[in-house]
């Protein structure tokens, strides 16, 4: 019985990966052929980009703050508190900014995409759309994917900036250190490869969030209970995939841009 269960689970996993790969490829390729729904792209950009600004801004600010608090305590043992700005800046821009923004946006938008599309599936709205001659992949999925990619790029910049500002606030008001030194160190230590690393990652995270959210939404079965299940799967799988892809990307990018 156990072997049959393992076999069934393994088959389902392979089938899901195959379905997701075909789905993600089709959604991407739709951008290069007509029809394109630019108004949908703008609506989704507003929902994903403007709608997520507050949570990204706050999470970036406090992550920068906590980084400054923790690093100052450790660096003071070596008399190196002056490099707090460098530490916070590089960590935020290269790693924490992109990953945290990805996970925050996944929590907010992968869930909303899965539940919205899932509800449309169970109420036959997706079938109605197809019956009216409109391809739901083009109308619903492709605009969400490209809105998520482009908005996550800018949201990551916002998170990076507010992370450095949060670190600066903690450095000045709680650690009572020099703010000018903090910001100048953060600025001086930055190199183009750091920025490239930090801004390549959200392109992949954005694609993962929207494609996983839409994928689980559109394969919803089992009524309202199924919508809940799809939402959970979308958030969990997109968050795990973001961290996994972040690890792989970091490995590749470090090979291209080795640390000094």
């Amino acid at each position: 019985m156990a072997i049959i269960s393992i076999e069934r689970t393994a088959k389902q996993l392979v089938l899901t990966i195959q379905d997701y790969s075909v789905f993600a490829w089709r959604a991407f390729m739709n951008l290069f052929t007509e029809p394109r729904y630019w108004s949908e792209y703008l609506i989704q950009s507003d929902i994903i980009g403007v709608g997520s600004t507050a949570i990204v801004l706050l999470s970036g600010f406090f992550t920068g703050g906590v980084l400054a608090l923790q690093s100052a305590a450790t660096l003071s043992q070596f008399g190196a508190t002056a490099v707090t700005g460098q530490f916070v800046g590089i960590t935020m821009i290269r790693e924490l900014g992109p990953v945290l923004t990805g996970i925050m946006v996944a929590g907010r938008n992968a869930s909303s995409m899965a539940s919205e599309l899932g509800s449309m599936v169970v109420t036959e709205q997706i079938d109605a759309m197809r019956a009216l001659g409109v391809d739901p992949m083009r109308k619903l999925v492709t605009p969400r994917i490209f809105a998520c990619i482009s908005m996550l790029f800018f949201l990551t910049i916002v998170a990076d900036a507010f992370g450095i500002i949060g670190g600066g606030a903690v450095t000045v008001f709680l650690n009572h250190q020099d703010g000018t030194q903090y910001f100048s160190k953060a600025w001086e230590s930055l190199r183009y490869p750091d920025i490239i690393q930090g801004l390549v990652k959200p392109l992949f995270s954005g694609y993962i969030i929207a494609s996983v959210g839409c994928f689980y939404g559109l394969r919803t079965t089992g009524g309202t209970q199924g919508v809940g299940r799809s939402t959970i799967q979308a958030v969990v799988n997109s968050s795990v995939l973001i961290i996994l892809v972040d690890f792989l990307l970091t490995r590749v990018l470090l090979a291209f841009f080795p640390p000094l």
Binding site: S119, T123, E124, Q125, D127, A128, M129, R130, A131, L132, G133, V134, D135
Partner: protein
């Protein structure tokens, strides 16, 4: 807009040799033809070896108890589902293995009314009804005019700017009918259009279907498990003079409205109302009684 009488238990009409029992559309090239169609979900067969056709101007009523695959059959008609075996010809084109991008333009020639309406929650009634016209980039003024015409046809012109959530079940169903009718489709598919509605609202919906059938002669497939609705469709016509549905004289039925019956995934009956009434098949008899 209301029918002249409220439906009671189905009254089985007497055969009329002059109008009943013969389908004048039966010899024409079919709009839709199923040949030995089968489909299964997760290994369990839902439809097996189904063969029938819909001729131009013909209305086919698909009867059967709940859960026998009526909605599945309807979704096969416009390619929303694909059969495992068999052939489906729609407007002369084989759609059983047609790619989705070629099916989409073909589907714009068909109007479909879903079981619960399937209106888009986030759009107003105007945008729901005009959905296909908006995709075709029809100018806004023309869209407004045509949507008002379609809403007037279903008696809901006052809901133009409302959202589906503010409408009753029957009103949503009528908006769905307006959405299906607006582009003057070459064929109509109705999936239990009166399911879950009260008798008065059901009669209003049936009247709209009879009106479309008799005014535009659009071929259609209608799925229902409610005998009284099926019989009313067959025994009534739309009078443009009185602008309402009126019954045929006693014993007369619409010759272009015929019946199919599904049971356990198989088609067990295909014929006119008179043949249905006279059928010896025990399942048909049980369903009628």
């Amino acid at each position: 807009m209301m029918a002249s009488n409220t439906p009671g238990p189905p009254q089985l009409p007497q055969p009329d040799p002059f109008r009943s029992g013969q389908n004048p559309a039966a010899n024409q090239t079919p709009v839709l033809a199923f040949r030995n169609v089968s489909i299964a979900f997760d290994g369990s067969p839902v439809l097996e070896d189904v063969t029938f056709s819909v001729a131009p101007g013909e209305t086919r009523i698909l009867l059967g108890p709940a859960g026998v695959g009526k909605s599945v059959l309807l979704k096969l008609c416009n390619g929303l589902l694909r059969p495992e075996h068999g052939s489906i010809q729609l407007f002369g084109e084989e759609i059983a293995s047609m790619p989705e991008n070629r099916l989409l333009p073909l589907r714009t020639r068909i109007g479909m009314v879903f079981q619960e309406g399937a209106l888009f929650d986030s759009l107003t009634v105007r945008d729901n009804v005009a959905y296909q016209l908006i995709q075709e980039l029809v100018p806004d003024d023309e869209i407004d005019t045509r949507v008002r015409e379609a809403l007037t046809f279903v008696g809901l012109e006052e809901t133009f700017s409302s959202y589906p959530a503010s409408l009753s079940g029957g009103m949503r169903r009528r908006v769905a009918i307006a959405r299906a009718f607006i582009n003057h489709p070459d064929m109509l598919l109705y999936d239990s259009p009166t399911g879950g509605l009260d008798p008065v609202t059901s009669t209003t919906i049936i009247e709209l279907i009879v009106k479309e059938r008799d005014v535009h002669r659009t071929p259609s497939m209608l799925v229902t498990h409610r005998l009284q609705d099926a019989f009313m469709l067959c025994t009534h016509e739309f009078s443009t003079e009185y602008n309402c549905m009126i019954p045929f004289p006693n014993g007369v039925t619409d010759p272009n409205t015929t019946f199919l019956m599904l049971n356990e995934g198989r088609l067990i009956f295909d014929g006119s109302l008179q043949e249905l009434i006279r059928s010896e098949n025990p399942v048909v008899r049980e369903f009628l009684e």
